[in-house]
Symmetry: C2
DNA sequence: ATGAAAGCGCTAACAG
DNA sequence: CTGTTAGCGCTTTCAT
C-alpha cells in the first residue's frame, strides 16, 4: 500500500507507551527531552516507534498543548499566486522567508482570495502571528486577522495603533520624484496608479476616489503628488490620473495609452510602481515617442528589471521590509507600545527623465 | 493594551457556552453549522462572543479534532528564501500556490535549512500533505517527510514507489539539446551543471561523482548527455563537466571561466539550467567571444530572462509543474497506485547556438 | 529517572 | 433545535 494512501495514523504516543510498558511521559520525553531518560531507554523507545510505524508526536496535538504553531501567517490581498508575479512582492516574501528561517518558523501563505470574501482561511490558519502585506484598509481578511489573539505586523498599511508596522515614508519618497520632475520643468504631467480600492476601476480617477483610496500606499503617494504639484502652482485637479486594477506590465501600457490619448500634451508620466512604468515605457516606444526626449517616465520600487531599463524611480528596500516584518513578529516582545519600522528610500535618476521638449505651445503660447 | 501583546486567549468556546447558558455544541454550531440552530440564537451567540472577545474556535484545537490542518507543506532543499531567487522555482511556487488557493488550502513553507540537518521543522509542520521539490535523494528532510503519515507528492525526484510524482522526461529533453548540437557539428563540448550532491564541489566532476549524483534531475541529464555524445562517437570521459553548488548567474559565469581556461577549444557549453547559461553568456561576452559564432551556449528551463537573451534551451512548464503537484496532493484520492504526471517539454532554438567555427585543427588536423 | 493526573479547546455522534 | 458524552494526541507539573 502506497504511503500516499495512509488515512489513519497507525500508532499514537499512548499506544507506543502501552506497547513498551512505560508511561506516556517517558515516550514524550524520548522525543522532546532526551536528557530526561536513560539513553538505553530512549533507544528502545525510538526503535519500537520505528517498528510500530509511529511517526513521532503529532504536530497538531503538540501545538494545541504547547500553544505554539511554529509558523507565521502571511496575508496578501491578491490571489495567492499574485505574490509570485510581482518582483517587489517576491522580494518582500524573500525577506520574510529569511527572517522566518532564522527563527525556525514556517511561513504559511493564507489563501485570501479577494473575490470571495471568504474569511474562513484566516480563522483556520494555525499560526503564532500574522504579517499583513498591503491590503486595502477595509479588507475583511484584515479585520479577521485583527480579531485573532496573536501578534500581527502590518506592512504598507495605515497606522493601526494596535499592531506593529513596517513601511517607508511614501510621501517623502514620491515627493522626491515630483521635485525632480518639477525642477526639470515638467508641469503638464499624468499619473498612473495601482488600484485604489477593492472595486475595479480601470480608468480615470476623480478627486473623491483619490481621497477615499483604501490602499494606504497609493493614497499617500497621490496626496503627496497633489501637494507637491500644487506647491509648484500646478492645478492638481487638471492632472489626469489613471488607475489600473491589475498590477502588470500590460496594465501599465494600456493606462499609458489611455492617458496619452486623452492628453497628448503631457510631458511626463508618473507611475506609482515600476511594473506600471515598464508598461508605460513599452507603450511610449510603440507610439514612437522617444524617452526621455519626448516623454519622461518614472516608476516606484526599484526592482531589478527597472534598473536594466534605466528607469528613474525610487528604490525601496523590499527585501529588508520583509525581513523587518518577520523580525518584529518573531520578537513579539512584551512591548506595550506598537512599534514602527520605517525604512529609507533612495531616488534613482535613470535615463527616462529629462526636461520636457520645448513645444510650440511654449514658444508661441500665451 | 495593544493587540500584539495578547498572550492568553481570553475566552474559549466552553466559557462562552457557560456565559450563554447553552451547550458547547450549540456554540460550535453557531460557527460551523449555522443551519443547526435558530438564527436568533446564533445572533446571540455571535454577539456575546464579540462582547467577550472570543475570537472564534481555535484553529489548532479544531485541527486536532477534525484531523485536518487546511494546509499543504512545501519542502525545498535550499534555504527557504532561495525559492524566491530562482525564476524556475518561483514559477513552480506560483503554480502550487494557485492549486492550493483553488482548494482553499494554505501553503506552508517549511524551513528546511540544508546546512543544519534539523529535521524538527518537518515534524512540527501541521499540514495535510507535503510537496517535495527537487531535493537530493538522500536528504534527511525528505526522509522525515516520508515518515509522516500524510500524502506526499515529489517533484523532480526519482521514482519512490510510495508517493505520487510529477516531473518531465529529463533525459529526452536534454537529448534534444545534445542532438541539436551534434547535428550542428559540435564534438568538443563542455558541460556546466548544478550541484550534484549535498557536499560542495565547485569544480570539475569525475565520472564517479556524475554517476553517484544525488540530485535526480542533474544525474539524469548528465547520463543522457553521456549517452547522446557516446552515440556520436565522442569519448564522454574527455568532456569536461563543471559543477557549481550555488545556483546563480555568477556561478554560471565562474564555471564557464573555469571550463574555458582548462579547455579553450570547446565549441559549445551545455548548461543544465538557464541561470547558469545566462552566467556563461556573460563570461563569454567578457572574454570577447561572440555567441554563437565563437561559442555555442545552451540552457535548460525556458525562463523569461533567457527568452529575452535568445538562449537556445529546453522549455519546461514550471508553473504547470507546481499546479500539477498541488492538484495531485489535494485530490489524494483513494488510488492504490502511486501516480505519475510527466509534463512535456519543448526545444527552443534561439540565437546562441550555431555550427562550430572551423578551426585550424579541423582544417589541418590529423 | 519515571509515572499519574489533568487538561489544551474543540467537534461529532447520538439522543432527546 | 439543543445537550450529553467521548475523545482527538499530546505535554506538563508534581509526586515518587
Amino acid at each position: 500500500m502506497a504511503r500516499s494512501m495512509h488515512v489513519r495514523r497507525p500508532a499514537t504516543l499512548a499506544s507506543l507507551a502501552a506497547e513498551l510498558g512505560v508511561s506516556r511521559t517517558t515516550v514524550s520525553n524520548a522525543y522532546n527531552r532526551p536528557d530526561q531518560l536513560s539513553p538505553e531507554l530512549r533507544r528502545r523507545v525510538l526503535e519500537t516507534a520505528r517498528r510500530l510505524g509511529y511517526p513521532g508526536p503529532d504536530p497538531v496535538a503538540r501545538s494545541l498543548r504547547t500553544r505554539k504553531a511554529g509558523a507565521v501567517g502571511l496575508l496578501l490581498t491578491e490571489n495567492l499566486s499574485y505574490a509570485f508575479r510581482d518582483p517587489a512582492a517576491v522580494g518582500f516574501l524573500e525577506g520574510l522567508a529569511l527572517a522566518c528561517e532564522d527563527a525556525g518558523q514556517g511561513l504559511l501563505l493564507v489563501p485570501a482570495n479577494p473575490e470571495r470574501e471568504d474569511v474562513a482561511a484566516v480563522h483556520r490558519a494555525g499560526v503564532d502571528g500574522f504579517v499583513v502585506y498591503s491590503v486595502p484598509d477595509d479588507d475583511p481578511h484584515l479585520a479577521a486577522v485583527l480579531e485573532r489573539p496573536v501578534p500581527t505586523v502590518v506592512c504598507d498599511q495605515p497606522e493601526l495603533d494596535t499592531v506593529d508596522r513596517v513601511g517607508i515614508d511614501d510621501r517623502a519618497a514620491i515627493t522626491q520624484i515630483a521635485s525632480h520632475l518639477i525642477e526639470l520643468g515638467h508641469r503638464r504631467v499624468g499619473v498612473i496608479c495601482m488600484r485604489l480600492a477593492r472595486d475595479r476601476n480601470d480608468g480615470f480617477v476623480n478627486a473623491e476616489r483619490q481621497h477615499n483610496a483604501h490602499f494606504h500606499v497609493q493614497r499617500a503617494r497621490l496626496e503627496a503628488l497633489a501637494t507637491a504639484f500644487t506647491s509648484a502652482n500646478v492645478d492638481w485637479t487638471s492632472i489626469p490620473v489613471v488607475e489600473r486594477f491589475d498590477h502588470s506590465i500590460a496594465s501599465g501600457a494600456s493606462a499609458a495609452a489611455q492617458l496619452l490619448d486623452r492628453d497628448p500634451q503631457v510631458t511626463a508620466l508618473i507611475c506609482t510602481s515600476d511594473i506600471l512604468a515598464l508598461g508605460a515605457l513599452g507603450e511610449a516606444r510603440r507610439r514612437g515617442l522617444r524617452v526621455p526626449q519626448d516623454l519622461t517616465i518614472t516608476g516606484f520600487d526599484g526592482i531589478t528589471e527597472s534598473e536594466r531599463a534605466g528607469l528613474t524611480t525610487v528604490r525601496q528596500p523590499v527585501l529588508e521590509k520583509g525581513r523587518a516584518a518577520g523580525k518584529l513578529l518573531v520578537n513579539a516582545a512584551d512591548h506595550h507600545q506598537p512599534r514602527t519600522v520605517t525604512l529609507s528610500t533612495e531616488l534613482v535618476i535613470g535615463t527616462t527623465s529629462a526636461p520636457p521638449r520645448i513645444t510650440e505651445e511654449r514658444w508661441f503660447g500665451p
